[in-house]
């Protein structure tokens, strides 16, 4: 009887709880607080934080690999295969495409330049990560955090540095959630009050034909130039074609509602579950967190600086605040531009103008990911 009781006590999670796990559980509580109370990207942070919480509870075995721990393996391990095999991020991109209106970008294609400029944060951070001792594959995966695009960061990390997937995904999504906090000080620092008050001309209407041809042309050009970007760009543009062609509304509704929600649950919980104490509590994670925020800040700054240059070249027609929206993070980054513009002039509406660079940033970060995949395959 005593033997059975002691065996039972030994099998209890509380007896096997380690300090690292306690710390990770506390981190997950902080993320849950940010997601639920502060409503920072709750759709992502809540499943990520709960996944992190579950995986750090001892002996739960939710992330057990069947090849190591024997069949049947952990529930979340199976979900995680969708991340590791690069299946979930392109599906999320398809949903994003079905929800995105590329009209502002088609009406003002110069925005593509701002989407490209904001990617400088990715490459500058790549340089920094190499200097800190990461390999090229790892540095590329860390740099992509600066693209402020969670699915792209997960996709690239799963291809190039699967061991760093947990910290990279947590950093990418946390910083996406913190866009309204990270970007405004940089935007204020780099622009004058007069520039922030610039009103931009109303965008021209875009025809249905243009909107239908756009996803096909983008896929054709980008994939012919950078074949490794095909899964991300292809799915993004397929989703957008569903939206714009107006003849497959059922498919469009599915990818932009049920499918993206289901995949977000699986992706969020499994990414959170990959952040175990042994994977997460180390110097590399701190370095990734610091590099990630730097990438983000540099991307924001270069976007604003190029917008300032374009403003000078066009004779004051471009409000530099829209440059920061070039770091994808759709639509939070565009909303920040709008809010900053309205602070300077309450009757100024920059949202539609900022959506151009914002969606260009999604294409830009997928292109940057394609560059790393082509270089480090």
């Amino acid at each position: 009887m005593g033997h059975i009781l002691s065996q039972f006590i030994e099998s209890m999670g509380i007896v096997n709880l380690e300090l690292g796990q306690v710390l990770m559980i506390l981190v997950s509580f902080v993320l849950l607080y940010l997601g639920i109370k502060k409503q920072f990207e709750p759709l992502l942070l809540v499943p990520i934080a709960f996944g992190m919480f579950l995986t750090n509870l001892p002996l739960g075995g939710l992330m057990n690999d069947p090849a190591i721990h024997g069949s049947p393996g952990g529930l979340l391990w199976y979900f995680y295969q969708g991340d590791e095999l690069g299946i979930f991020p392109p599906i999320i991109f398809m949903g994003v495409g079905a929800m995105t209106d590329f009209g502002p970008l088609i009406a003002n294609p110069k925005s593509l330049l701002l989407g490209a400029a904001a990617q400088f944060g990715i490459f500058a951070t790549f340089f920094g990560a190499i200097m800190l001792g990461f390999t090229g594959r790892e540095a590329g995966s860390i740099g992509i955090i600066g693209g402020a695009d969670g699915p792209t960061a997960i996709y690239l990390a799963s291809r190039l540095a699967p061991k760093l997937l947990g910290p990279i995904a947590v950093a990418a999504y946390s910083y996406m959630a913190l866009v309204p906090i990270i970007q405004p000080p940089i935007m204020r620092l780099l622009t004058t009050e007069k520039e922030r008050k610039i009103r931009m001309a109303q965008l021209r209407p875009v025809s249905r034909t243009e909107k239908i041809l756009f996803p096909i042309i983008v896929t054709l050009i980008v994939v012919l130039m950078l074949p490794p970007a095909a899964p991300l760009i292809g799915m993004l543009m397929l989703g957008n074609l569903f939206k714009e062609c107006l003849v497959v509304n059922r498919l469009k509704d599915t990818v932009s509602n049920s499918l993206i929600n289901i995949v977000t649950i699986f992706l969020g919980i499994s990414v959170g579950a990959s952040a175990t104490a042994e994977n997460f509590l180390n110097l590399q994670t701190i370095q990734i967190m610091v590099l990630g925020v730097l990438a983000f800040a540099i991307g924001t700054a270069t976007g604003v600086l190029l917008a300032k240059l374009m403003n000078k070249l066009t004779g004051g027609k471009i409000n530099p605040l829209i440059g920061s929206a070039g770091v994808s993070a759709v639509p939070m980054a565009a909303r920040v531009s709008q809010k900053m513009g309205q602070k300077a002039d309450p009757s100024n509406f920059l949202l539609m103008h900022a959506m151009g660079p914002n969606v260009a940033g999604v294409i830009g970060s997928a292109v940057a990911a394609g560059v790393f995949l082509a270089l480090f395959k």
Binding site: L105, I106, A107, P109, K110, L112, L113, G115, A116, Q119, F120, I122, F123, A124, F126, F127, I130, M131, T135, G136, R137, A139, Q202, L203, R204, P205, V206, S207, T209, E210, L213, F214, I217, V218, I221, V222, M225, L226, Q342, P346, S347, F349, A360, I363, G364, V367, A368, V371, F372, L375, F376
Partner: protein, 134 residues
């Protein structure tokens, strides 16, 4: 072996000096940014070409507002930030008329007098309070 080739190799990179790593990562930074810019510039050119061919004509079906007045009520009278209210009204017209927001212009917004009887107003407030509490 070429520096860049050595650099992209996960095992060989560790044998490089810090100077070599800095040089190689600088090359990749410049090359990566250039490729990103070139790709997006090609897209810019293609989208511009697409727009030149398929740009909608000037004569489009428009939903116009008849009232010539351009006066706006004071924000307090309109119940909040006037900019926000204008945006909401424009979005509502676009949604109801199934027309893009560029195709019409709101020239005037004049709030009408509230003719709801006193009892009706009290009932509405009670309903709202109940919903909020739930």
């Amino acid at each position: 072996m070429d520096l860049l080739q050595q650099f992209v190799h996960s095992e060989l990179i560790r044998g490089l000096t810090t100077g070599d790593k800095a040089l190689a990562s600088f090359y990749i930074t410049i090359m990566g940014m250039s490729i990103t810019f070139v790709a997006l510039c090609v897209l810019w050119g293609s989208v511009s070409l697409l727009s030149a061919i398929f740009k909608p004509g000037k004569k489009k079906k428009t939903v116009s507002q008849e009232s010539p007045k351009v006066t706006l009520a004071a924000p307090d009278e309109m119940g909040g930030d006037d900019g926000e209210i204008i945006s909401v009204i424009v979005a509502a017209i676009a949604a109801t008329g199934n027309a893009p927001i560029h195709s019409f212009k709101v020239k005037s917004i004049i709030p009408t007098a509230d003719r709801t009887p006193q009892w009706g107003r009290v009932g509405r407030i009670e309903q709202l309070t109940r919903t909020t509490k739930n």
